[in-house]
Symmetry: C2
């Protein structure tokens, strides 16, 4: 009775608030237009105008904040009622759409007469412009080039332009926390177990998808030209660029449901790992495609040199960003010792942000650097933080990720109506949907077939269908497509991309539970049984041993002291590099990897076990011949401590040959 | 031995890092100039230029991030060695100064030739400008008006201008978290006990200080005119404006030391409360002074109507912002029930931010609204949050406050050298220092004398000297002075303000411990003895009872259910308004006020006690005659439960008459 009353009470309050908030939104929107009117009257007094402009900016931002608030309240209601068809991001889009419609059609804004077009004889566009209006100097800053056709539109609707953010905001403010958070939460056992497959899907798969979509779209564009459906230029590089931006998947909706329903952990790891890494690949790929510029007159012919240059740029930028992110992560790991909590968190935050800025300042891709910085910090720095700071940083980045993600999705909804230069071309849109579908298929099915040749734990066909289905497009695709909407081709891409995102988030995201039950995908009780049958792979073992014996002791407090793992001749060096804490905790060595494990159920299968067993082995064997740890381990595997070690160190890296060394223990 | 080794190890690592970071700073600075050079070469290709500009922006921001990182590392070193002479903010300023010197003198930047001055026949300055450079359209946005003399400087040093932020950033991004955090942490018993004195110092005191400084500065300016030391206009309103901006105190350094040394809690409360509230007063006061515009031709004559209008504006804006802040706080209290933690924190953050935006959009002062929103939320909303969210929000705002504060102070150091239009006038500077000193004295000593007439627990003379000494100027003064530096008078004010901030932070902040021991100020063991001798005041008691019996039950889960406090005729309404949780927790009623108390030592004196005892009383007495709670309480005071109730509800509000009603229990 008390509980019922409580629920009713809560609902009443929530509804009351929903009304209140919507009211504020509308008031605010009206206010915006009112201010606009006011704005017209006193165009002469600059100070007043600046104040008005500031008030309008506040009102605009307020609309977004209220949209987010509304989204949060509705999500909470949904979670309360276990309603799974609509995810918070889908919801944010819907609210954005509604406000966009109101802004576009609900408010009549008088023509802004105060825009002036000046003609100038200089053939330079300076960054700062001083304009002398009847004796007074005003300073103007360059916002960007606009096409002549657009020049008319600029004057048209000032208010809609006002709620349109600078696209770079997405790249420099909203995307970094999302990507960093993805990297920071990637430290899961199942990710490493499926690392080979994930890398294959993310790298090979994205490139395949990009080229398949690019090729198909080029065919579509050629067809459109013949039936004269095309009003502007659309080159092959544009098609490839489109392929690159729509190849970044973002199955945030699907993953949320997976997490809730405890769907198979391997499938989760495959999808999550792929989506995190293919964002990075897509960013670098698209910038390399933009950089493709043949030397000749016609800038859109095929040229080997330019192609190689683009390819080199891809490799250079990617590896540069990777190195930079990892380096900053390692620096943070080195300095983050026993600080005061507040300072620790602040330092962590600042170092992560500086990774982004440093990468951007060096001409690399900040988003990619931040991703690998996040992965490195989760792997090393996290272990050095005090428990309170571990919580703080996790919560902080979780919050930032949540806010940024929902902001982007509600902005997406809004922009469908408020963006001024949409080009909706039915033929292009249909072609794009088909191409995106086929591109995803060309990524998943052939690669899965190849990977299954090497994997003992096959990726079954229902998993493949699920991965195919879960190819949602999200924040990264949107941010890439809105970044440049100057040309006709880019505008058409942007409009089409928006529709693709809407469709995949609503249809694919909403149908996840149906798809799961339709494909008969079991929830993850089977993982324990299967994991004892996993194969080990030499490549991963080498990395693991190196990481555990050398990197972890240097960078964190965990792992065995270096004095035990390095050869005796390096004694003094080892002593210098090992942190004193590592000696102190020697008795109770434990690896903190275990606390980011997917579900509590398979806690017995964590790295924790591995560490203990390899430590024990390491203590015995590496003292004499430290270079041959993995061989020692092999010998050890044939007798004693068998089951435990097998469970832990035997990790799947499927791209490998059939692995004769490790078939020994199996029979 | 192990500990020694550990410390040495840590120091080595820290020093290593300090070097590394400084290196990055210098590299980054060099990079900036390099890019600047590059920037010059290809002024024609817009896209490339935008990219270069973005890279430079990243590098500039990186400088600040690295400055903050350096500050954090050094603070940690200081805290480790218990070094109290230099606070983190002072340190941030020093590092800022150093980088400013490097940027100013260390790097030779060639003249930027790409600035163009256009002349235009229109007598309007549009917000958006389309410029037609040889057939291509470029969009420019209005940055502001600049004086003709400045117009030359603009072209002069592009790079220094680049590291200069838009002053509105301080007001709209950096100040709100600082002020909100101050409000959110104001919920302390000693603040309420000294509320009357605090309000007197903050309101009356700031106005007195503003006018005293304004008057003195006007005298100084008149004198300067006569010895022809003045190169531009300087009106009386300018002097008053200067008085308003330097009247905002910010003793963050002193308070940090007080907190660490456990200095007398009443003194702490007086200083902290005053500094929080006088920021709000100074903001509104300065904007009212700017709004003073007589109707006649000469805009600087005295006119009663204009004065009244300004005064009305002060009251209107202040009370409007106050009401808005409190209203949003209450709305948050109403909706923040049993959410998922992440959603709860996100909602809390968004609602607080929307208070700021809403106030700005309505033409009120966002900073003031945010302050009172923080106070309200600490008082009501905080009690409704889950314990985890309480921690999360506290930590989040603590982090934001820390980052914003240190950023502002390091920017202050930087701007002393990079700001282009400094006007250092020795006579004005000396006059300002004297005026600031006398203004503070005219605030503290007379008001303390008057307040002591009403207080039984006198503000002793050593406390008064300490308050005088602790009148540091900080973030708010800086933000107000940098907001508008267009005229000669404002530039002179800005330069002088910078010097005042530097002086007070370094000298007064650094000398706090010396001053404390010199004034023989005891640390807070005496507070417990004294608190039993406090007077109660009817005004505060009425408020407390109203808050406890009606507001808290409606807005939070704590306090007695409304059904017990409202008259029986309001039964259904009371039932509707009371949250079900309030019924459930009826047995173990407790007020969460206790967890923001200054020191653990006097936990026995917290509101917690009060609540329990008044609850018990309320349960007994208010059922029959709910309107007369305070009278009932009085009767109750004379017999039974005496000591406990006296301790809690007897709070000092000194501006009152000698209080005959409550002298009864004392003898």
């Amino acid at each position: 009775m008390a509980r019922k009353c409580s629920a009713a009470w809560r609902k009443t309050k929530t509804l009351l608030l929903l009304l209140l908030v919507s009211l504020s939104v509308s008031i605010c929107v009206c206010k915006t237009s009112e201010e606009q009117m006011e704005n017209m009257e006193n165009t002469i007094v600059t100070e007043k105008k600046a104040e008005e402009s500031h008030r309008q900016d506040s009102a605009d931002l307020l609309i977004f904040i209220l949209l987010l608030t509304l989204t949060i309240l509705t999500i909470w209601l949904f979670k309360h009622r276990r309603f799974r068809f609509l995810h918070e991001t889908g919801l944010a889009m819907i609210y954005g759409l509604i406000v966009g419609v109101i802004l576009r059609y609900g408010i009549h804004v008088p023509r802004d007469v105060s825009n002036v077009t000046l003609s100038c004889q200089v053939n330079v566009s300076p960054a700062t412009l001083l304009v002398n209006f009847s004796g007074k100097f005003y300073e103007y800053t360059l916002k960007g080039e606009i096409s002549a056709s657009e020049a008319k539109d600029v004057a048209d609707n000032e208010m809609l332009r006002k709620v349109t953010f600078d696209p770079e905001v997405f790249f420099n403010i909203l995307l970094p926390p999302i990507i960093f958070h993805a990297g920071y939460s990637l430290k899961r056992r199942h990710f490493f177990r499926n690392m080979g497959s994930i890398l294959a899907y993310a790298f090979l798969g994205t490139v395949i998808s990009c080229f398949v979509i690019g090729m198909l779209m080029y065919g579509c564009v050629v067809l459109m030209k013949q039936v004269s459906q095309l009003d502007g230029d659309f080159f092959f590089t544009d098609c490839l660029f489109f392929g690159a931006i729509v190849s970044a998947t973002d199955p945030v909706t699907v993953l949320a449901i997976f997490n809730e329903l405890q769907v198979d952990v391997d499938l989760y790891a495959l999808l999550f790992g792929e989506s995190v890494l293919n964002d990075a690949v897509a960013v670098v790929l698209s910038s390399s495609i933009v950089a493709y510029q043949p030397a000749g007159d016609n800038s859109h012919t095929f040229e080997v040199m330019a192609l190689l240059k683009s390819f080199g740029m891809f490799l250079g930028v990617f590896s540069g960003s990777f190195a930079l992110g990892v380096a900053t992560g390692i620096v943070t790991a080195l300095i983050s010792f026993t600080f005061i909590h507040l300072l620790e968190t602040a330092l962590f935050f600042l170092m992560s942000w500086s990774t982004f800025l440093l990468a951007e300042a060096c001409g690399f891709t900040g988003v990619v650097a931040v991703l690998f910085c996040g992965i490195t910090q989760a792997h090393y720095t996290y272990n050095n933080l005090s428990p309170e700071s571990q919580d703080r940083t996790k919560q902080l980045f979780e919050l930032l990720d949540f806010l940024a993600e929902n902001f982007i999705f509600s902005y997406m909804g809004l922009t469908l109506f408020t963006f001024q230069n949409h080009v909706f071309n039915p033929m292009f849109i249909v072609g794009a949907f088909v191409a995106v579908f086929l591109g995803r298929a060309a990524n998943i099915y052939p690669l899965s077939f190849l990977l299954n040749l090497g994997r003992r734990n096959k990726i079954r066909s229902n998993f493949q269908h699920m991965m195919m289905f879960a190819g949602l497009r999200g924040a990264m695709t949107f941010a890439l497509s809105i970044r440049d909407t100057a040309t006709y081709a880019r505008q058409m891409m942007f409009s089409t991309t928006l529709l693709i995102v809407f469709f995949t988030v609503w249809i694919c995201g909403g149908g996840t539970t149906q798809m799961l039950s339709c494909q008969h995908i079991r929830f993850s009780e089977g993982s324990e049984r299967r994991s004892t049958k996993q194969e080990s792979v030499w490549l991963f073992r080498i990395w693991y041993n190196f990481d555990h014996n050398y990197l972890k002791p240097i960078l964190t407090h965990s792992g065995p002291p270096l004095t035990a793992t390095l050869p005796p001749c390096c004694g003094p060096l080892a002593h210098f590099l090992t942190s004193p804490q590592a000696f102190e905790v020697r008795g109770e060595l434990k690896d903190d990897d275990s606390d980011l494990i997917l579900s509590d159920r398979d806690l017995s299968l964590t790295y924790g076990d591995v560490t203990i067993s390899t430590d024990a082995l390491g203590g015995h064997t590496t003292a004499g011949a430290p270079g041959s740890t993995s061989e020692d381990l092999d010998r050890e595997l044939t007798y004693g401590d068998h089951e435990l070690v097998m469970r832990g160190t035997r990790l799947v890296l499927p791209m490998d040959d059939s692995e004769p060394t490790f078939s020994r223990p199996s029979p």
